[in-house]
Symmetry: C2
Subunit: 463 residues, 2 copies
């Protein structure tokens, strides 16, 4: 098999065979010296891979090709075996958004309801946060545990939340690094294979997808988000797994906090029966899907009820307690948020005028948090777990009324340069405007604080 | 400047600036550790270059982008200075075809008419031969001479024929190697820049292009060939050089020989006033363009007359004699072809039936010669200068009548495996069929033996 012939085929709009896709992925695995024996047989170099990635970007892939790419990437590494855990193992994946801390309250509640959740997450990059960074704000909490410990912890307490393991889909790591520098990231084919290869290797039986749409998400339009959601559901199905995707609004931040320690606190609040409504309602909706998929509830209504009970009864919080204990975290965090890192400095953001709060570009809230130290621009950046932004619950949400001089939000940060605070403030006011009229709340694109943010639901592959 | 931003721009159909193209070419030059200082400032890697090449392949370039790419590639190395030679220096470039030995008889005749010809050529690869290989069939003839010697020889005898120098457009060498393995060779944008960057660096004032079309050429259709010809004329003009392109038929081999020593002999025959008509007529047509462009003739008619006189009077042959002498070749070759390497063995190809000769796929004649040892598959292959194919002048040309058992052609070869002779014979009969009816001679696609093969002429840039 010749790499250049495979490239030419895709260049000319052809459909690649399973073997051709396998040869490509074997070569990519080889580049990083992973993937062992099969990889040694492929001569697909990195510069050939990037030419093929561009041809895929521009000419697309069929569902069969996406499935083959996903499976080949999955097989480039280990596949976790959860046959020792009875019942269907279900995970959730979010495409990422500003203030998205759903995983932290969702996994314990779902596990408490009897559905095992083996969750493997990534770190935050750019304008969206990462579950790992939020968990690691808890002193002592380790997300770097072995696959064996991961397997036994899910068996024992029903859940575990760990970092992406290098043994899982290593081809994705090499491919992503190549895509990142060759302008081939924003391809639905490649995004689908990247996400699904890692998730399917986790050994799950089903996956609930939270595909975010709006100015705070990667997919800015409902059309793009729907295409990605449909693609992922198709591929899960083609690989013999259950999947459902909720399209959810990310045109305003989720909850009232953006940062790591403060988002962890907010997630714990939800487990304690407190916290903002929008965060709880989305958690409940996603959890209900997982419970039905996991076979412990017959209907979404019954599943929603189970989620609510697990919250009110505190079994969700108990499960999170066991998880924190198993992963070495400081248990006092559940009762005393002062255990979490706290910011040395606070800078109030006050309204320059009287009017109504309108989120016009939520991505800029993520950028503002990044300036404060809450995020990373490159994978090597250090983050400040205490940094971030809290919105006022009465004057900091979309559509709320505010008077001149009242506080919209508070920037949390360490002793950073004034320049960075200025940059954060400037970004903040690119995200938020105070306008004389109440913003039109287009129900399909802008969420209110008591809205579950659902814009759509995709449950079966497109024919 | 960020490589990935440049890639994304072209990926999305944008137009690259001169600076962006320069940054790309600087990076490509760096890859090979050539191009020195400017190159050190670019971080364009080879895997980024191949992604961009694919985006260029699929999304194309404007004339301005092609010009910028050509100029940047040209500036990646040395530019020959011919200001010490008076008059306009004119070269010819052929896109390559089966049996194309025009350069060998053309350059001496044009130089004899007073137009200096500094000719830098490549080696043959695949199904087409190379001028260097043909010249090197002359014992002692060196094509590897320095740029200084090249400059002085053109000044002294009006012509020189040398191999591509590594100092000339080194970025093209790296880019071509990358294109070859990434499925990005067959792009008119990239082919134009590759050819023109090298030719413009030769220090010429004008260029006559022989763009071949048909089954024995890279461009199989008149449409593709016209697009390439127009592109090259556009770029020459955009770079301030004169250019004219003749579109010429390559659906049958040029002349009666395919190979190295035998093609050199055939070219010398033309200089001696002998040889096949089609080879002479094409040489005359291309030479006439060069003489008019060089300012020594006012009209193509007058120029054609000058070419014919240089042939009949022997001044062309004299000029070639000086060239061979200057470049160390055995002068006896002009009077005694036995000085050239001769094949140890001959295998006759006889007609299996009675009928008419029809060339259906001339590329396969090149492949047959390759099997016999006359060509190379990779740049590292050795060639046998004596190997090749001679066609019978009465029964070996398109449309000629033949009886069963009569000889169509003779395969010339050394003591090679019978398997290779069989492969050559099989390829030969993929190229030629003997049919009961005389083939339709579509004047625009199939040349006869006394035809100058011209299918079109492009002299000025498209608006």
């Amino acid at each position: 098999m010749l790499a250049q012939e495979i490239i030419k085929k895709k260049r000319d709009g052809g459909v690649l065979t399973s073997d051709e896709i396998q040869y490509f992925v074997d070569g990519v695995s080889r580049v990083d010296d992973v993937g062992a024996s099969a990889a040694a047989q492929s001569n697909f170099t990195d510069y050939q891979a990037s030419a093929l990635l561009m041809a895929i970007f521009l000419n697309g892939m069929t569902v069969d090709e996406r499935r083959d790419l996903t499976m080949a990437m999955m097989r480039s590494g280990a596949e976790v075996d959860f046959s020792h855990v009875s019942g269907a193992k279900i995970d959730k994946h979010s495409t990422g958004g500003v203030g998205d801390k759903v995983s932290l309250c969702l996994a314990p509640l779902v596990a408490a309801c009897g559905v095992p959740v083996p969750m493997m997450s990534g770190r935050g990059l750019g304008h969206t946060g990462g579950t790992l960074d939020k968990l690691e704000a808890i002193p002592g909490f380790s997300t770097q545990i072995s696959l064996d410990t991961f397997r036994s912890q899910v068996a024992e307490i029903g859940m575990a939340m760990i970092g992406q393991k290098p043994e899982i889909a290593p081809a994705d790591k090499t491919l992503y690094a190549l895509r990142d520098v060759t302008g081939t990231v924003e391809s639905i084919d490649l995004i689908t294979a990247s996400i699904m290869s890692k998730k399917l290797a986790e050994g799950i039986d089903g996956l609930v997808l939270d595909v975010k749409v709006g100015s705070g998400a990667f997919m800015k339009t409902l059309e793009d988000a729907t295409a990605l959601a449909q693609s992922m559901v198709n591929i899960a199905s083609a690989c013999g797994k259950k999947a459902v995707a909720l399209l959810t609004d990310m045109s305003t931040p989720l909850g009232l906090t953006v940062g790591n320690a403060i988002e962890t606190k907010e997630a714990i609040d939800v487990l304690r029966g407190e916290g903002p409504d929008d965060l709880w309602l989305l958690t409940q909706a996603l959890g209900a899907e997982m419970l039905v998929m996991g076979g412990v509830a017959k209907t979404l209504e019954a599943a929603s009820e189970m989620m609510a009970k697990a919250r009110v009864s505190g079994t969700g919080l108990d499960t999170f307690r066991k998880c924190i204990e198993a992963q070495g975290g400081d248990l006092r965090v559940l009762d005393d948020s002062k255990v979490l890192p706290t910011a040395k400095n606070k800078t109030a953001i006050e309204s320059p005028t009287s009017g109504f709060i309108e989120f016009v570009n939520t991505e800029q809230i993520g950028i503002a948090a990044l300036h404060l130290g809450a995020g990373r621009r490159t994978v090597d950046d250090k983050i400040d777990p205490a940094a971030g932004i809290t919105f006022d619950s009465n004057h900091g949400r979309h559509g709320q009324q505010i008077n001149r001089g009242e506080r919209i939000a508070t920037l949390l940060h360490s002793d950073i340069d004034q320049q960075r605070i200025d940059q954060a403030t400037a970004a903040f006011f690119k995200a938020i405007q105070v306008r004389p009229e109440s913003p039109v709340k287009a129900s399909s694109t802008i969420s209110g604080p008591s809205d579950d943010r659902q814009l759509g639901r995709i449950t079966s592959p497109a024919s």
